[in-house]
Subunit: 324 residues, 2 copies
């Protein structure tokens, strides 16, 4: 006579728990066998109305919940090995849970990161999904935030600012009327479904002196990396990788550069690459199929990172997005 | 220029992150170094209004959030090694966060289980704390639910039903008027602050054929253990370990036995001990200072576990508590 929670787990989540250590989700705990490597642990939660919108489709919510964590693992140079899931639900609704679990299962297969266990709780409040994800690195090889050195190149993957514009589109903001349907779809998709740079993990591990994922805004996250490393940085605005829709909105002056470099939800990798590693790193990124742009340089000093348009410094009123 | 979240982490949680692998909480991830053992992973979340009450003091909320996870680790035979915390807050309020973090720090020290990392998110809804805790066991030594064999003794630690009565007291239910102040305090304390049986982990690991923690009701959790092991069980009602306040309420017929054996939040260990291990196990429990009572026997069969008062079977309308 299974309880509501047991039934829910058996129906929706057991198929996603493909690792032997998950014990078919019938136990209270999972096992991660020691393999002589280090385990990298990261936790990120998303809350309805805060990190995703009430009307976001359940499949994109599932993907975002897992992928924001996979993005962290990739930035640390770690290979995904599994995750545990806390799901806070107002109600058990087939129409929401079935596509959620289906999409989660697809991402589990795509990224080789199975469900190991979790907890499903009832809440009177907004939906919330908290995931703790695990990755493996050789002993001592996790890439930290605090290893950047003056002279290192500053590299970011993918494009910056699209997700913030996508959120703006969904909220009917300035970016909405300026875009055609296809551009809007691209931006919204970037907000709803991050593309974690798992394929770049090995290259980051082998070549980066410091790395983190960009989740709260490029300039704010760079400020954190600089503070942890005890360095400063200059960023060349002209080198920032922008998508075609972002470039169009910028050209029409519907959005400013600040919205792009301080907006959240990019889930790209920001890393610092020593001069003698830049060639091997960009080669590895190209082989992995991940766009990587050199956007600036690490400098000595403890002042915050600065953004330049040619020789003119662009002053920013905010660096990142904060929910508090 | 720290964001609200960074400031919050630095003020309240960095002092609790005493493990080297936490990297002072300045990184996106933590490291658990391989030590040749297996890592046991468990996740439990508590939600305001569901697993704790809005008026529960912040220090008891912190302890409950961590201890429900420590209870799982102990039941798996694992030694705690650290945890990650997801905290969903409506607002950043010193008067709540300071005692919460203070109590968490005390439990970290008491149980040797430091904070490794986490995520703090804003929510418009109820407070929620999700913890993923890690424990270590020698390779292959995690105690599972599925190892119980006919003839094994059924053992439970501590006393059963107090937490359910404590919740009843807080809600002004049948248990409230029947207890004196001291009894009420004992029961409420059992609801708010579980006593995880961390001291018994080694004995469980060395002697139990199966184990789990009792969190949703003794009989319901026993049913899960039996189902996982493919066995049945008989429980002797007269052998159930009850506290003095519970005995008094039972004697006055203010509460029935069913409320005790199906009520949630016990956080005791239920385990099965083979005949030839019972002596060593009870000796080890006594040395660890953990009360452990033999309450029944595992039997062959696949029917649900049964509760007997002498030769009379007590039928139960429910076995456990479910939030769904």
């Amino acid at each position: 006579m299974p309880s509501g929670e047991d039934d829910l787990i058996a129906r929706y989540f057991r198929p996603v728990a493909t690792a032997p250590g998950a014990l078919g989700l019938v136990d209270d705990a999972a096992v991660l066998q020691g393999q002589g490597d280090d385990l990298v642990v990261t936790t990120d939660a998303i809350v309805e109305g805060v990190h995703f919108l009430k009307d976001d489709p359940p499949d994109t919510v599932a993907r975002k919940a897992l992928r924001v964590n996979l993005s962290d693992l990739a930035a640390k140079g770690a290979t995904p090995t599994g995750f545990v899931l806390t799901l806070a639900l107002r109600e058990v609704r087939e129409a929401w849970l079935a596509p959620f679990a289906q999409a989660l299962g697809e991402d589990v297969a795509q990224f080789g990161c199975p469900l190991l266990g979790g907890d499903t709780v009832s809440t009177p409040g907004p939906l919330m999904i908290s995931i703790t994800a695990f990755g493996r690195v050789p002993p001592g090889a996790m890439v930290r935030r605090d290893g950047a050195k003056p002279g290192d190149h500053l590299v970011v993957t993918g494009t910056i600012g699209d997700a913030a514009l996508g959120l703006d589109v969904l909220k009917g903001g300035a970016a909405a009327p300026g875009s055609d349907t296809r551009a809007r779809d691209i931006l919204v998709s970037r907000y709803r479904v991050p593309q974690p740079r798992v394929a770049l993990a090995q290259a980051v591990r082998e070549h980066a002196s410091a790395a983190m994922d960009v989740s709260d805004g490029l300039m704010g996250d760079l400020a954190k990396l600089c503070a942890a490393s005890g360095v400063s940085a200059v960023v060349n605005a002209g080198a920032l990788p922008l998508s075609a829709p972002a470039r169009a909105l910028l050209a029409e002056r519907r959005v400013g550069l600040e919205a792009l470099v301080s907006g959240g939800d990019d889930y790209e990798i920001l890393c610092t690459i020593p001069e003698n590693r830049l060639g091997p790193f960009t080669d590895a990124a190209a082989r992995a199929g991940v766009p990587a742009a050199v956007i600036g340089t690490i400098e000595a000093g403890t002042s915050g990172p600065r953004l330049f348009d040619g020789t003119r410094e662009i002053s920013l009123s905010r660096l990142s997005y904060s929910h508090f």
